[in-house]
């Protein structure tokens, strides 16, 4: 269609042969993207004017956070540790639970295609649940506090690691799997001995990366009462205790940074 509207460019070689070069789609796509941007700004009532006139409020809050209330750190240890514990236990249990699910979702391991499809749908349904919503529901079931947060993180981990893991399993080299079957193993035994060693490093790496992200998620789960440092942030913002908020954010930034560095170090070792 596009080629008919804009006929390909002809390049004549010295020996008389003609090569057709198709016209670039880039200008057409640029126009489409520009229209999409305009429409989305129009419907969301986005305005640069508001940004310019109100941005100073943002800096007012930042300035109010300076200097941070250093003494406030004594209140922070417990919720900060709760946040880390929540994400650690949630990531750990989630990463273990996801293993059988990911195997059952892999078409190359499960002989029955529809079983694999069902487990893929389950995993993608889990991924569509926003963590904040899962945490909120978990607080109704397990009560306010870190348990609800851990459950929410566990569920998110299952969805996230599950998808990446079954993709790795499906891309694994199947030659050794065939060899294991020829030795007399069942498909699941063949997975354990041929595919698992292949995907293990990337599985661990994905799980660590997910844990890194989960520490950040865990920090906001307190907003819905699921424990951790978010609870404190929510309170202090409400009380306009900005110097306390400054200290909390600083502590969070440092913690996340340290965890990221450690996790990155180990992930580099893995690959």
């Amino acid at each position: 269609m596009y080629d008919k509207l804009f006929p390909p460019k002809k390049i004549l070689l010295s020996n008389g042969k003609v090569v057709h070069k198709k016209r670039s789609r880039a200008p057409f796509i640029t126009i489409l993207v520009a229209i999409a941007i305009y429409l989305s700004a129009y419907y969301t009532e986005f305005s640069f004017y508001t940004i310019f006139t109100r941005i100073h409020n943002f800096f007012d809050i930042i300035i109010a956070m300076m200097p941070p209330d250093w003494g406030y750190i004594n209140h922070l240890w417990k919720p900060l540790m709760d946040t880390i514990k929540m994400s650690l236990i949630g990531s750990l249990i989630g990463a273990v639970l996801v293993l059988p699910l990911a195997v059952l979702a892999s078409v190359n391991i499960v002989p029955n295609k529809s079983t694999a499809a069902i487990f893929k749908v389950i995993l993608s349904l889990i991924r569509t649940l926003p963590t904040l919503v899962t945490a909120l529901i978990a607080t109704f079931i397990f009560g306010l506090g870190p348990i609800a947060g851990s459950i929410a993180i566990l569920i998110f981990t299952v969805g996230y690691v599950g998808k990446l893991l079954y993709e790795q399993i499906e891309n694994a080299e199947m030659g050794s799997f065939e060899a294991m079957e020829s030795i007399g193993m069942t498909r699941f035994q063949a997975f354990r001995y041929a595919i698992f060693p292949q995907v293990l490093p990337s599985y661990l790496s994905t799980s660590l990366f997910c844990f890194e992200g989960n520490v950040r998620y865990a920090a906001i789960l307190g907003f819905v009462g699921a424990g951790g440092i978010g609870l404190l942030l929510n309170q202090d913002l409400g009380w306009r205790n900005y110097s306390g908020v400054g200290m909390t954010i600083l502590a969070l930034v440092v913690t996340v940074f340290i965890i990221e560095q450690i996790s990155e170090y180990f992930r580099r070792k893995l690959i």
């Binding site: 065939e178 060899a179 020829s182 030795i183 035994q189 001995y193 041929a194």
Partner: protein, 260 residues
């Protein structure tokens, strides 16, 4: 003994991979199977250990009617048949010894299967198998550190640890250089002779097949067109197997292997 009677194999899409296969292979024979790519050589081998199902006829291996086996019986049956592949099919991220030890997995208890902890006796058996193919010194090296020839020997050791009656080899030397190929073929010959294990191998290198195998089976379009002693193979039989594509003895057949 392996006995094919009127065996046929049709894939679900209608392609006939094998037709009217009648064949008897005695214990301890060394058989080379030759033919063009896609002629049905791999299918023939894979029917023997039930990696593929046959759709017609009967196939008896050591008094077992292969087509009648189910689930657990198939897996038990496969324990007695070793298989070697063109691309070695080892787990490259783990050690040589661990690659050989996998052949004991079906015998392990439930917890050992999950954890992958082998008994001392099994480790000794695995090391013995490595010794038989001459790479005992590489036992604790990771497989991805080894050359192609060494990897094929690890695969051979893995198969030997199974203590099989038959070894099926699907293009075992197609990814190896001529010198290494010869060493690996020598290994096959020695194992065949010393341990009375039947060896059936698919091979593209006609001259190697004629040199090492006692018996040659030629397959063309899923049918056996030649079955006889290696020394009875001449230019006419090769023409028939390869459809007149072999003009000079061996050389073209070797080129053929490059297209795999």
């Amino acid at each position: 003994m392996i006995n094919f009677t009127d065996v046929g194999k049709q894939y679900p899409n209608g392609t006939k991979a094998l037709e009217d296969i009648n064949l008897t292979i005695e214990q301890g024979e060394f058989v080379g199977i030759i033919g063009l790519s896609g002629a049905g050589k791999s299918t023939l081998l894979r029917c023997i250990n039930r990696m593929h199902d046959i759709t017609e006829g009967t196939l008896i291996v050591d008094d077992v009617d292969v087509a009648k086996l189910k689930g657990k019986q198939i897996r038990h049956f496969r324990r007695g048949i070793g298989m070697i592949f063109q691309s070695f099919n080892l787990v490259t991220r783990i050690s040589v010894l661990n690659n050989v030890l996998v052949s004991f997995v079906p015998e392990l208890s439930f917890w050992r299967k999950i954890t992958g902890v082998y008994t001392k006796e099994q480790k000794v058996k695995a090391l013995d198998a490595l010794d038989k193919v001459g790479i005992l010194d590489k036992a604790f090296v990771r497989v991805d550190q080894l050359s192609g020839g060494q990897q094929q020997r690890v695969a051979l050791a893995r198969t030997l640890a199974q203590n099989p009656d038959v070894i099926l080899a699907d293009e075992p030397i197609a990814s190896l250089d001529p010198v290494t190929s010869r060493q690996v073929m020598d290994d096959f010959k020695r194992i065949n002779r010393d341990m009375d294990i039947s060896v059936l191998l698919n091979i593209h290198h006609v001259e190697v097949a004629l040199e090492f195998a006692d018996r040659i089976i030629g397959i063309r379009k899923g049918k056996i067109v030649f079955d006889g002693k290696s020394k009875d193979v001449n230019q006419d039989t090769l023409d028939e197997i390869y459809g007149g594509k072999v003009e000079e003895f061996g050389t073209d057949a070797e080129e053929e292997s490059l297209h795999v």
